[in-house]
Symmetry: C2
Subunit: 531 residues, 2 copies
């Protein structure tokens, strides 16, 4: 999410979200912290969406709820179609979504906005040319330089060259593959792989990819239909995206080719193509359920082929490997990107980034989209392209970058970071709660319940222990109860009767005993009750 | 860990361990469950170790303690040296460790054992030729077919061919890279990369690799010393392994080349080579501490180069990426296997596995070492090599495989699986405890403490709530206390006074309330105390 400001007015580019990493225990989604924008809600002229991927549009429902609905939201036709469906699910209606065809100019306050078509792993990806205050800024969005895209809609290098000739003051460029040498292969390569692989197979063919990868689905469908197979699309998000893409003309699948999952049992395996979600090993996805023999209408067996047409997002590797192993155990042949050309990246490599730098010849460059190492690699490419080091800025979340007469620099930091979505609650989860979860996940919890008789201040009964997620033998738990009783007796004999103090002492001495015996530090929760 | 049995006697091949995956919350190490061997301790003639990697020798201290010390433990010179040091740390002395040079035969009960030299990412890796009962079994251990290894010790294809000519009844072959086409590059390739990279650098050079990768260290040292750099070895396990390797003649580093970490500050960055642990992003390792600016004597800055000379083990990707990003932020250039030829695998690819199959021409094949998908890929290679499908066995942990007159098949299953090491406790951690940790890590814990006056059976005070790792607003916690009080009142009014029953009702109604309000399911622990 980037806010571009001129004359006190703002255009917001993208409203993405992140999926939680393994250390964000129990978290469902990760949003950008947009508290800075909340105070500026009145100044927002427009939100512009570069394409329909979740990391570019996923936070939109939360932005609309927390900041308010802006005057207008622009994007390509498919992007707007997908976003409309998402907002519907969140019961957000009457949002001013507008399709903006590439090449048209629209005004938004002091801004002139133009979209430029880029190739990516979803149709309708665009770069933005934003003019304001006599300056021209280009934001690439996500892109690759696919000169033979499946839909024929190439990255519009002609228009980019014109912008370069006009004079680009600042380039915000996708850095995802800035470390990778050479050029990313065309999406068409995957279709060619399907054309090699499918005809040799006589069993079921299952292809799993990202649910929004319309061209990937189209290519699999085209090859399968030529071979007389029927197509079944499985997984809620993939069915939804395929519907939107077909309705808007981005995907071409004849009605009589499609079958419902229930109808598959009537069809010989050799006449089936199953397109499904789950290429990241997501726990409840179609492919994971198939791999675990837990899908209501689809199973695989010897002779079947599963193509995992995606690369695991870092952090998902083990889940994907688990799916592959289970599918292999069921007898299926599993083809994945490590061993067959069944996936290509949606992002341009070094030489493509260099081409964009050559076309746009920007006066200043701010690498975006990617981890710091990728931004740093992109900065290196900009230096190679002749951009002076002083005109390259490595900004991070929260950086305020000022572009001023040929000079670009970080002038301020605003509140930034992430907001957790945890069940129904957005942003209520404290760092303390997350740290507690981590602690609980490592060593579990031990609750000591002690009752004191108020009248004489003596311990009434032997303390009780409740252990959860803690690996202690029964003898240790007995020893711990004795220790707790002993500590209480000594404290009470010494006239220490304040509950808080008793709990503190119990916590420390029991914690030490447990650590000495087990080298673990479960969370110790003493409960002392006066009766 | 594989047990080979003939005439009621046993040879154990390797005693490896696993490192815990992310879902094994709080677990330190994962051992094989060797309960089956415990009943057969008297029948063990020898343990043979193929090489010194942790996944092949790491469980040895636990095996010796739980099963007992066998008559003899064989391995190569370096393997035995490393194992001796490990056993010393575990205070296990007087263990009958014996170096067995490749090519020599030893008897062990009904077995004849011979080691055959193989190339791998640690010196002194061996295959085993085991003869018993008129049969010849070959176990490859881990290997690659490096024809230009750094120490000149090639995989002994000549001896393997002789064994093939003699007639191999069963091959147990490394399957790690069975899915990968072609041939793994020689270890020498990494040295050549160092020779390209190092001379161009004027700042510090930090090389991180596995602590046991003696040849990797040697190659980095050779290039650095030629350039006039001094060498500092950082990280306990790497210093230990380098010492053992130097003492046994596997590594050649002159004494005057080595410097201690404290001496680095006297040395210009351009005269330093730092070899360190942490190539997997391990939390307390040297490289991770350097990346976090937390190492007592080493920091990196602009102009420095960090080479991560390893590939992340699946599951460690995010940690490694985090290290790279932090090092890049500190200004260092970071070279890693995705973008520079600074790592090669220690395992042979498809064509190497085919070469071994061609040399040994085994009558039967049992793929070992690898996930199921890799075993399945190796089985495919064996079929291609002409081994009949009926003589290929895909065994899993616990399978009992019988080799009988040209026939190999799974005849039984024994108790198997894994044993967790959790702090000081081995194997005490139940599945329940692990499931509890998972639950706690997702949604935290909510403890309800209610006191009842025994005399009149009425609730004495408003129940108390303790929440940890749970993301609930204060109002929700108040509502929950009210709900708990209400539930207790109603039950007591209805003459339900049994503690267990009260707790059960509290658990269910509070759990439901929390779920309705938050869509989360924290662990609910009701504590009801009669006073």
């Amino acid at each position: 999410m980037t806010a571009i400001e001129a004359e006190g007015r703002i255009v917001v580019v993208d409203t993405g979200l992140m999926f939680p990493t393994a250390d964000m225990l129990g978290i469902d989604l990760v949003l950008p912290d947009f508290s800075t924008l909340r105070d500026r809600a009145e100044d927002i002229e427009a939100i512009v969406l570069t394409h329909g991927h979740e990391d570019h549009v996923g936070a939109l429902p939360y932005v609309l709820r927390e900041i308010g609905v802006p005057p207008v939201i622009y994007g390509g036709l498919l992007t707007i179609g997908m976003v409309r469906s998402k907002l519907d699910e969140h019961k957000l209606r009457d949002v001013p979504l507008r399709e903006l065809p590439a090449g048209e100019h629209v005004g938004a306050g002091p801004f002139d906005i133009e979209l430029v078509h880029m190739a990516h792993s979803i149709p309708d990806a665009v770069a933005l040319a934003i003019r304001a205050d006599g300056k021209l800024l280009v934001h690439t969005g996500d892109y690759k330089l696919d000169h033979t895209p499946v839909d024929g809609m190439k990255t519009d290098v002609g228009r980019l060259a014109e912008l370069g000739n006009e004079g680009v003051d600042l380039l915000l460029g996708d850095s995802t593959n800035a470390e990778r040498p050479g050029v990313t292969e065309s999406e068409r390569v995957v279709g060619e792989a399907f054309r090699q692989i499918f005809p040799l197979r006589s069993g079921r063919i299952v292809v799993s990819s990202f649910a929004s990868n319309v061209h990937r689905m189209q290519q699999a469908v085209d090859v399968a239909v030529d071979l007389g197979r029927k197509v079944c699309i499985v997984g809620r998000s993939m069915r939804k995206n395929a519907n939107i893409a077909r309705n808007l003309g981005y995907m071409n699948v004849a009605e009589d080719v499609l079958v419902k999952p229930d109808a598959l049992k009537e069809l010989p395996p050799g006449e089936q193509l199953i397109l499904c979600t789950g290429s990241q090993g997501e726990p409840l996805s179609a492919l994971t359920r198939i791999a675990y023999g837990d899908h209501p209408s689809i199973s695989v067996e010897r002779g079947d082929t599963v193509v995992i047409s995606a690369k695991p997002v870092p952090g998902n590797e083990l889940r994907v490997h688990d799916s592959i192993n289970r599918l292999a155990r069921a007898g299926a042949e599993v083809l994945h990107q490590e061993i067959a050309p069944v996936h290509v990246s949606g992002h341009g490599n070094k030489e493509e980034l260099r081409t964009i730098l050559a076309l746009l010849r920007p006066r200043a460059v701010m690498p975006v989209h990617g981890e710091f190492r990728m931004l740093a690699a992109h900065a290196e490419l900009a230096r190679d392209a002749g951009v002076p080091a002083s005109a390259i800025v490595l900004a991070e979340n929260g950086s305020v970058v000022e572009l001023d007469e040929g000079r670009v620099r970080i002038v301020d930091e605003v509140e930034s970071g992430v907001t957790f979505v945890d069940g129904l609650s957005v942003g209520d989860l404290s760092d303390v709660a997350l740290r507690d979860r981590r602690r609980l996940s490592e060593d579990g919890v031990l609750i000591i319940v002690a009752t004191l008789a108020t009248r004489d201040g003596g311990a009434v009964a032997r303390p009780e222990l409740i252990a959860r997620g803690f690996a202690g033998a029964d003898e240790l738990l007995e020893e711990t109860r004795d220790e707790a009783a002993q500590v209480l007796r000594e404290l009470l004999a010494g006239d220490v009767a304040e509950i808080k103090l008793l709990q503190e002492h119990l916590h420390d001495s029991v914690g030490q005993l447990i650590y000495d015996r087990t080298r673990r530090r479960p969370m110790i929760l003493p409960v002392v009750i006066e009766v």
